[in-house]
Amino acid sequence: MQLIPHELYVGEVFFPPMLFDAGLGLVAATITARLSNRFRVSRYLYHPSLVLIALTVIYTGLFSIFLLPG
């Protein structure tokens, strides 16, 4: 695992990697939710809204470990 934190920058503006991880996490969770709706898997869930938040956190965590570590 990379121990030195690295930053992302666009032009001369620096952004924390966590911001991108969170954005990607939200997008991934939304796509998962759409697919679950599409294939009617979401009907087996007790509280889909909570699951969406949980998925966002899980994806953000995974991306921050494997894709864009902070």
């Binding site: 503006v13 009617r40 809204s49």
Partner: protein, 725 residues
């Protein structure tokens, strides 16, 4: 000035809003007032289609700002050093404002009063001495915005609210005339090719606009202001007439098999008189005096023919006739009121004052849920701002969350993502102008052109009424990002910080939409459906109350609350039903859902009639003879309602139909026997008539339940109930 016919209303409104914004900025900058964008806010939020409506909304904004400012200054003075007490005090005031918003024609006043408190308290910064200056600036800028757009609206393509109001009333009179003619067609043997569904839709839309137009016309027209009592009375009468026409339409179906022309000999004369009254009302609104006043047409029933009818047909005809009598009275009043407004020498009509029980509205669960949604949103924003480090632009974050949460209380059915899509657009457009264009501008002329183009673009793209909240939010963000001031500074971080705040606001609003109360259309629809049937079940149980024993206070209270539910829930179901997403509809269509809601509205009317008729004196003989049958009928209805409140999909059309037919058959025999046992003189008494009408009302409720079961068969309940992201 370009030819008026060349430009559409959409372009004209966009041009006028853009011009008014430029004017407001121009004056604010030339006077060197701070927060020039507040004047632009007033323009963005208050411009409507007519001068009067815009002016009315502007005045509501100004008075709301004053109340909010007063509350903010008082709270700051009371709790200058105590953050939590200040927040609690502010929440109580803003919560009250939010609570007052739904179902109120002056909701905007409460909206502005509520959103002004955190805005003024936070915009003043750490020094409380700034707060008074902020209050003054805010009021000045708001007044400037109102003056700017009023001037533009008056000078460029002016649209009078009075003309718009009169047009809508004329349309309503014409629609009612056609509807009345359509429903009388089978009776008097004429044909009409008008589509009643389209007419009913047109009537509903016109009635929705009427209140706002009247408020505007009262301000921009002296003629309307002078006759305001009569106008209010007219609006009330039009609402009542629409409701009674709907009930009449339903009762017409029950007497389809009856020869109405024979049993009500003067029905044809009444039909032509009704037609003439509506035509004369239209003429009077156009400024022409009526040829003559309303003429009486007797609606007496033919006794021999009535005696030959079955009891239920007799009941249905009595109900039909009572509706005709109400229509006669209302159209007569309408005629007199319009004649009074137009000064055609008719008698003055006093405004109708209908006693509306306040409690059901005050304890409306949806209203309280809206306050819960706002509270969750605001406190989440407060707690994030206080405890999450490095949240940028906390003032904008809290103010935007509070304003949008409050705005959503008026139209809770709007999906957040689609409604507020204009916000990122406004932010991106404003950011691009701020970073790329504004540094190159050298004069206000250049800046004015840029402001005009940006405002025009947003107003032109988002012109639909359903996009109003998003458009206003988009314009507000545009103004906030551009941050126009005399000593203009540029900081890219301002744009980025605001760009971070917008998703945060979205996130908080999204959380508040699902917690603690879910505002998903399908959830709300099912919840309202359950409440409707629970109200029906309770009201059915009240039919057993002995008129000689007055109900307890608790019983009266429950009855009033359930009657309120009965009156309001069908219209709410119509709103939420139209907001259902395709995924929740499944196999069912929007038309099927609409038909289901219409069957519930009809059921509500029938229940109201049943309750009203039950309160009238009844024949003791018939009551004694039919006691067990009527009791079984009532208990059966109660059971069905209780069951439907848990499982609306349990409505079985074939089962309901056969049970109702069997009940009707049994009862008809027994009524005939009971009536035959009485002497002929007593059967003509009012009590007997009431008892027959009561049985007819029972039948009406049961028939509407059967109709609900039929419509329910087409609904994909499994999909509607299914959990979904």
């Amino acid at each position: 000035m370009p030819d008026q016919s060349v430009l559409s209303d959409r372009v004209k409104t966009a041009i006028k809003t853009a011009l008014a914004t430029v004017l407001a900025y121009g004056v604010a900058l030339s006077m060197d007032w701070g927060h020039a964008y507040w004047a632009a806010f007033a323009v963005a939020f208050c411009t409507l289609s007519t001068v009067g409506e815009s002016l009315n909304k502007g005045l509501l904004r100004l008075s709301g700002t004053l109340l909010g400012s007063l509350a903010a200054v008082t709270l700051i003075a009371l709790f200058p050093q105590d953050r939590w007490l200040f927040l609690i005090g502010m929440s109580i005031f803003t919560g009250f404002c939010t609570y007052m918003m739904p179902g109120n024609s002056r909701w905007y006043f409460w909206n502005v009063a509520g959103l002004s408190v955190p805005l003024i308290a936070l915009a003043g910064g750490a020094d409380p001495l700034n707060d008074f200056q902020t209050v003054i600036t805010r009021s000045e800028e708001t007044a400037l915005g109102i003056v700017s757009y009023s001037l533009v609206w008056l000078l460029i393509w002016p649209t009078s609210s009075r003309e718009a109001l009169e047009d809508v009333v004329r349309q309503l009179a014409a629609a009612h005339r056609q509807l009345a003619a359509h429903f009388l067609t089978p009776t008097i043997g004429e044909t009409h090719d008008t589509d009643p569904e389209a007419l009913r839709r047109q009537t509903t839309q016109a009635l929705t606009r009427l209140g706002g137009l009247f408020d505007g016309a009262e301000i921009d027209s002296y003629e309307v202001w002078e006759a305001r009592l009569a106008w209010r009375s007219l609006i009330q009468q039009l609402l009542q007439l629409t409701s009674i026409l709907e009930r009449w339409r339903q009762s017409s179906a029950d007497v389809r098999e009856v020869d109405r022309q024979r049993l009500i000999p003067e029905l044809e004369k009444f039909a032509s008189e009704l037609d003439r009254r509506f035509a004369e009302i239209g003429c009077m609104l156009e400024g022409r005096p009526p040829e003559r006043g309303p003429i009486s047409a007797s609606l007496d029933l033919e006794d021999k023919g009535m005696a030959s009818l079955s009891p239920f047909h007799r009941a249905a005809l009595l109900l039909y006739r009572s509706h005709l009598l109400e229509i006669d009275k209302l159209t007569r009043d309408l005629f007199e009121t319009v004649a009074d407004i137009r000064n055609f020498g008719r008698a003055k009509v006093h405004p109708a004052r209908e006693a509306v029980p306040l409690l059901p509205r005050a304890l409306d669960p949806e209203r309280l849920a809206s306050v819960g949604r706002w509270f969750t949103g605001l406190w989440l924003a407060w707690l994030i701002a206080l405890y999450v480090p490095d949240i940028p632009n906390t003032v904008e974050f809290i103010v935007l969350t509070n304003s949008l949460s409050m705005a959503l209380c008026v139209m809770p059915q709007l999906p957040i993502a689609r409604t507020l899509l204009q916000m990122p657009f406004g932010l991106a457009l404003g950011g691009a102008i701020y970073v790329l264009v504004m540094p190159h501008l050298t004069s206000f002329t250049d800046l004015g052109v840029v402001i005009f183009a940006a405002v025009f673009l947003i107003c032109y793209l988002y012109h639909r009424p359903t996009q109003a909240v998003g458009k206003a939010a988009g314009l507000a963000l545009l103004a906030m990002v551009m941050g126009i001031a005399n000593e203009q500074t540029y900081n890219f971080l301002d744009v980025i910080n605001l760009a971070v705040v917008v998703p945060l606001v979205f996130a908080v609003l999204a959380v508040a939409t699902y917690f603690p109360v879910s505002f998903r259309a399908e959830r709300m629809f099912l919840h309202l459906l359950g409440r409707f049937f629970r109200a029906c079940a309770y009201l059915a149980s009240t039919l057993q109350w002995d008129p000689a024993i007055p109900p307890t206070r608790w019983q009266r209270l429950r009855r009033v609350l359930h009657l309120g539910d009965l009156a309001r829930v069908p219209s709410k179901l119509a709103i939420w039903g139209s907001a259902l997403p395709a995924a929740a509809l499944g196999q069912s269509t929007t038309e099927q859902m609409q038909a289901l809601v219409e069957s519930l509205q009809a059921l509500a009317y029938r229940m109201q009639e049943l309750i009203e008729i039950r309160a009238t004196p009844q024949s003791q003989v018939l009551a004694r003879e039919l006691l067990s049958q009527v009791r079984a009928w009532r208990v059966g209805l109660q059971d069905i309602f209780c069951n439907l409140s848990q499982q609306p999909e349990a409505a079985d059309f074939a089962d309901f139909r056969s049970r109702l037919d069997a009940m009707l058959e049994r009862l008809e025999e027994q009524i005939e026997k009971a009536v035959a046992g009485e002497d002929q003189a007593s059967t003509a008494t009012r009590e007997n008539e009431n008892s027959i009408r009561l049985l007819g009302a029972f039948r009406g409720v049961s028939e509407e339940l059967v109709n609900f079961a039929r419509q329910s068969g087409g609904i994909d309940w499994a999909r509607l109930r299914e959990a979904r992201f």
